[in-house]
């Protein structure tokens, strides 16, 4: 059943309710109240079972339609276990992006630097790209050509993008926005367990654990359909502890909310380990039998006694004691981290400290216990396994491992020596753009760093400095607007492919509709470019064919997909890797017998607290932390084009505590300027006592004057190369100082152009120049 929505922001929640309810009476009543038209679902002509295009839950959905008022209709797929039919507003409204007027429908070219983008045909666009890449490679060497991928790309795309970089371009410089997402958790996972899979257990295990600590994650807004698992945990008598500088909607569900300063998560975990040891909650048998390195971890914990941790984190010692007692005293327990602790310049160590807590209490490698990461992007898991990461080859292999190189070289039909070594990490790659020793031509797919990268003003300058920027996207994102060539590509409902959700469950995305004429898949684009650059084979256009090659390439690696097939995925509601053979059932729960380290023992990390890359001082006295809102996704390139999502979340804002607001003389809704050493952002004040008084919060989904990433600090984690999105020092000034920098909230919605492509492009280019 679909609902035609009235305009106006207030109605949106009601619209969601009307859509989400299964009670037809409620639905009709709500609809009448809102003056909406309810249409009965047309008998679906062979609806397609597929998955949501957005976050790492990869909720199952069924696509029917088109209907009278939408290009497609989202139907429930209640038999898919991860979300059991539930979807959030983002998933439900995803078909809006199938409409021709919000998306790209043909390639665009810029004839001269600074000139406008114009419509072009595919042959011309591809020739231009191939010639540009070849020229830069000839003049400056292969490493001057770069590739930047995304965690939203399917496994097949990620795999072939990596292969394209190494085999066709011969460059070491390929990385992707997943570096900004879960790379710290990945590094800590591998260090501790020898293997990195977001969750070592299915989500359905969560309701059965005794105590769960969720660190720096807000699934109530970022993955609402997962929230039921946390609710069920509490209904079953389990305890939920949430660690977050903000009292988020998720934190409000918790039995205990610890509210540390941004950057305090590492010390907090050390303090809890200290108390676990002091209060006799250590699982000595587990530590002796299944771990190594405890002594060093204990020493670190002993340097972090409760009073000290209180001072570092702001969490009162009595709350630390309660948390340690709840977690240490539970039979089973889980720790889940998300971007909060991970997007720090000490993210890897922070996650390591939380893993230490699990290991010391025997809460890993056992049923209903363990550490996991709530991965962010749709294919954040699979995207990091198959070769678009600077240091990796398919199957989660190290690019520096001679055996791994030899294996992949055979699959690719090249010599192992021809495969380049490790390249620059994401921020370092972006920072190098247009520099003499850096990347001068960049092929970018599925990412929008002009909005999503840290220090985004600087990154935008670097993107402008390129000799050639090629962007493959489904919409004209802020980054695409900077491009010399824009290639329109298919989206979720128009393509086959696999993604791997946060559980390590490989799932199947199915083509439900034909893309518009003029739109091509990335796989087709890569084959065409490879052919133009002299590699005539090895780039299949059919996703299943690409997947079969990926299976061979991953065989024997950590993320072994060899036994997974499209047929099996469809029949089994997804297959969990590692799955080395067709008769292997897949691995729902990891580490029950042994950890994936050489000696089978999990490794404690010897980590101690250290300050953030930038701490508040007199000139910049407040912490800034960044995050998400319910109705927007990542850089907003997609969700800002959906009217009802924009109505629910029209633009950026700055959350600040009433006492801070009072001190600054700022009223709710007034424009405030937030300034860091890197830039300035202006947005409306949102006053709430749910945030610490020493911290302000901005969501990062918007470009322009309210771009949160104009402020963020690219201080990198030494291991994962993760930038410090979650902590930097800022000052906030009230309206009086922010005059002249006012921006209308409505400007953040990406209006649907009424006219054809060429005109629309002209209009957007103008706006881009105004905004820039």
């Amino acid at each position: 059943m679909s609902v035609r929505a009235p305009c106006g922001p207030g109605a949106v929640r009601e619209v969601y309710r009307a859509r989400n309810t299964r009670d037809p009476d409620v639905k009709q009543r709500t609809a009448r109240f809102l003056g909406m038209t309810l249409t009965s679902p047309p008998a679906p002509t062979a609806p397609t079972d597929t998955h949501c295009p957005y976050c790492s839950l990869q909720c199952g959905m069924r696509l029917g339609g088109p209907t009278a008022d939408a290009p497609a209709e989202v139907l429930e797929r209640p038999d898919f276990p991860v979300n059991r039919g539930a979807l959030c507003g983002k998933g439900r409204s995803a078909p809006a992006l199938l409409a021709r007027d919000v998306r790209l429908t043909g390639p665009l070219l810029r004839d001269r630097p600074g000139g406008p983008l114009r419509a072009a045909g595919w042959p011309e666009a591809l020739d231009r790209v191939a010639a540009g890449l070849a020229r830069v490679r000839a003049e400056h060497g292969p490493d001057a050509v770069g590739v930047f991928g995304g965690g939203g790309l399917t496994n097949e795309k990620a795999y072939l993008l990596g292969k394209f970089a190494r085999v066709v371009l011969g460059t070491a410089n390929i990385d992707y926005n997943g570096r900004f997402c879960m790379s710290s958790a990945a590094a800590a996972h591998r260090r501790a367990f020898g293997l990195d899979r977001g969750l070592p257990f299915p989500l359905a295990d969560i309701p059965h654990t005794g105590c769960l600590i969720l660190v720096g994650g807000n699934p109530a807004e970022t993955m609402p359909p997962a929230l039921r698992y946390f609710r069920e945990l509490r209904e079953n008598g389990g305890t939920l502890i949430v660690v977050d500088p903000r009292r988020t909607r998720t934190a409000e569900l918790a039995d205990l909310h610890l509210q540390p300063r941004p950057g305090g998560d590492l010390a907090l975990a050390l303090g809890l380990l200290h108390l676990v040891i002091a209060d006799g909650l250590l699982d000595k048998d587990f530590v002796a039998a299944r771990t190594s390195g405890f002594e060093a971890a204990r020493e670190s914990a002993m340097a972090h006694w409760p009073d000290r941790v209180e001072r570092i984190t702001g969490v009162p010692a009595h709350q630390l004691r309660e948390a340690a007692r709840l977690f240490g005293g539970a039979e089973t327990g889980m720790v889940l981290t998300a971007r909060g602790p991970e997007q720090q310049s000490k993210g890897t160590d922070t996650v390591g400290a939380w893993i230490n807590l699990c290991l010391a209490t025997g809460k890993a490698g056992r049923p209903y216990s363990g550490y996991g990461c709530l991965t962010g992007q749709g294919n954040g898991q699979g995207g990091r396994e198959h070769g678009q990461k600077a240091d990796q080859l398919p199957g989660y292999r190290s690019i520096e491992d001679p055996a791994a190189r030899a294996h992949v070289a055979v699959v690719w039909g090249v010599s192992a020596e021809s495969i380049p070594g490790p390249g620059r990490s994401a921020y370092e790659l972006l920072d190098s753009l247009g520099r003499p020793d850096g990347v001068r031509a960049l092929l970018l797919a599925g990412s929008n760093p002009a909005v999503s990268a840290p220090n985004a003003g600087h990154v935008t300058e670097r993107l402008r400095a390129l000799d050639l920027l090629v962007v493959a996207d489904l919409v004209l994102s802020e980054t695409a607007r900077l491009a010399d060539v824009v290639l329109p590509v298919t989206q979720w409902a128009e393509e086959d492919g696999t993604t791997t959700n946060l559980e390590g469950r490989v799932i199947l995305r199915r083509r439900a509709f034909d893309p518009p004429e003029g739109v091509r898949s990335e796989l087709w684009v890569l084959r065409e470019l490879a052919a133009r650059l002299g590699v005539a084979s090895g780039f299949p256009v059919e996703a299943e064919e690409a997947f079969d090659e990926l299976r061979r390439a991953s065989a024997g690696g950590d993320a072994d997909y060899a036994g997974i097939s499209y047929r099996r995925i469809a029949a089994e509601d997804g297959v969990f890797w590692p799955c080395p053979a067709e008769d292997h059932p897949g691995t729902r729960r990891l580490f029950l017998d042994r950890f994936a380290t050489p000696d089978g023992r999990a490794r404690f990390a010897p980590v101690t607290h250290r300050p953030a890359g930038e701490e508040p001082d007199e000139a910049y006295p407040l912490y800034l932390t960044t995050g998400r809102v319910l109705a927007q996704y990542q850089s907003g390139a997609q969700t800002r084009r959906v009217a009802e999502l924009n109505a629910a979340a029209p633009g950026p804002f700055v959350e600040l505590h009433p006492r801070l607001a009072e001190r600054l003389g700022v009223a709710d809704g007034e424009q405030v300027a937030v300034t860091s050493r890197r830039g300035r952002a202006v947005a409306a004040a949102r006053i709430t006592d749910s945030i610490r008084a020493d911290t302000v919060f901005m969501p990062f989904h918007w470009p322009g004057a309210g771009r949160a990433n104009s402020l963020t600090n690219p201080a990198l984690d030494p291991v994962s190369r993760m930038p410090e999105f979650k902590v930097c020092a800022v000052r906030v000034e009230g309206a009086a100082y922010a005059v002249g920098a006012r921006t209308e909230g409505a400007a953040y919605a990406v209006g649907a152009p009424a006219e054809g492509a060429a005109q629309a492009v002209g209009a957007r280019t103008d706006r881009e120049e105004v905004a820039g």
């Binding site: 002091a278 000290r308 010692a317 010897p606 101690t608 020493d694």
Partner: protein
């Protein structure tokens, strides 16, 4: 070719250990050696009272050193800032390129008759300090058979030690010369609440009383064949029978080494904002250091100084500066808990205002001392729900703005 610099850290307490660990973690290229007079590698002294209660094993409170080499049982007797050498107690001489003095502090022995053995060799039997793990071990051993203990000194260490002894089943009394317990951190009312709480644990307190003498068992000052301690005699003539005495009369920076090398010494070893002494390549941190006229004697500032010096010497931030700490005094052992900040006695200055909440039923006492819109001092005792907000206000040291009631009561927004 440049040789890797040799960093000698003298003293294996919190400051020295934290420095050593941070120096390596920050990418310092030098080799770090931590010289400690005690027979053990560095451990966390803050936890000693709870080692006494058995909450921690002595082995389990070791501190991380990163890649530094510990040299326990290696007392440094002298150093030569010109030749850049250390003289060890065993007669050997060790060269260094950078010297970090983290010698800490010694317990102050009060002027009480009978504290020492007649032969001058250490404290009389049954008389203890609580500064090292060895002290702690001896005290724990004797506490097993002890019936009554007297703690001389009612500061934070005395209170912690008394509570620990009480937890071990030893009837304990505190003799305190000051007007009330922990007078450097608490006001009279807070101390009274603390005293009530100690009493509930079986600890009796006698503030405003000075210990005059320690007597051997069976009465009378011991002579010749010295026996165990038997009583503490107060200045007012009262005798407190006991078989254990713990001295907790504060600490004094250990500066003899620096003084002997000709470095300027005030209360502590004088350092600048770089934590450097005037002698090239010699720095001092922690309890032994005096920065801008202040010797903190607390673990928090010691840690912060160690971090700054590690940043400076490792090369991570050659210009790192320490500009002072705004420390909190914190007691949290079992049920006894308080946090205290700054100057808490408003009677010393007519310009000070006070905001106070006393909750006798729940045994809590909370107080702000204000000068206009600025926070001068504060106490939270028994209810630390607002410790984060209060510490934030204390550390930021700015105008409070609005009504500061939220700093002592939760649930009050403004």
């Amino acid at each position: 070719m440049t040789r890797e610099p040799r960093i000698a850290v003298v003293g294996g307490g919190m400051a020295g250990a934290r420095f050593a660990e941070r120096y390596g973690a920050l990418g310092g290229h030098g080799s770090v050696t931590v010289y400690g007079a005690e027979p053990r590698a560095p451990y966390n002294r803050v936890l000693l009272a709870d080692v006494l209660t058995g909450r921690y094993d002595a082995e389990s409170i070791a501190l991380p050193l990163g890649g530094a080499e510990p040299r326990p049982g290696c007392e440094v007797l002298a150093f030569d800032p010109e030749a850049r050498t250390l003289g060890l107690a065993d007669g050997t001489v060790e060269p260094w390129d950078e010297l970090v003095l983290a010698t800490g502090s010694n317990p102050v022995l009060p002027p009480v008759r009978g504290l020492r053995r007649p032969d001058g060799q250490g404290l009389a039997e049954g008389v203890h300090t609580l500064r090292t793990l060895e002290d702690c071990g001896r005290l724990a051993e004797e506490a097993v058979g002890a019936k009554r203990a007297v703690v001389i000194g009612g500061g934070v260490l005395g209170v912690s030690a008394a509570r620990a002894l009480a937890a071990l089943g030893v009837r304990t009394e505190i003799v305190h010369q000051g007007p009330h317990l922990v007078e450097r951190q608490l006001d009279h009312e807070a101390a009274a609440v603390l005293r009530e709480r100690l009493l509930a644990l079986g600890v009796e307190c006698y503030p405003g009383n000075r210990a005059r003498a320690v007597h051997g068992g069976m009465g009378g000052p011991p002579a010749g064949g010295w026996g165990r301690v038997g009583a503490v005699e107060l200045a007012n003539g009262y005798r407190l029978d006991c078989d254990l005495v713990v001295l907790a009369c504060g600490t004094r920076p250990r500066t003899a080494l620096a003084y002997g090398a000709g470095l300027p010494v005030g209360t502590g070893v004088l350092v600048d904002d770089g934590l450097a002494t005037p002698a090239p390549h010699v720095s001092a941190i922690g309890d032994c250091a005096e920065h801008r006229g202040i010797v903190h004697g607390l673990a928090g500032p010691a840690w912060e100084q160690a971090d700054v010096l590690a940043r400076r010497l490792s090369g991570a931030d050659p210009d790192a500066r320490y500009t002072g700490s705004r420390p909190r005094a914190r007691l949290s052992t079992g049920d006894l808990e308080y946090a205290a900040f700054g100057a808490v006695d408003e009677t010393l200055d007519p310009g000070l205002d006070v905001l106070r909440i006393t909750d006798a039923t729940r045994g809590s006492y909370k107080k702000l001392v204000l000068r206009g819109d600025r926070l001068v001092g504060a106490i939270l005792l028994g209810d630390l729900a607002t410790v984060d907000a209060l510490a934030g206000a204390w550390e930021s040291d700015g105008p409070l703005g609005g009504h500061p009631l939220h700093l002592i009561t939760r649930g009050v927004l403004r």
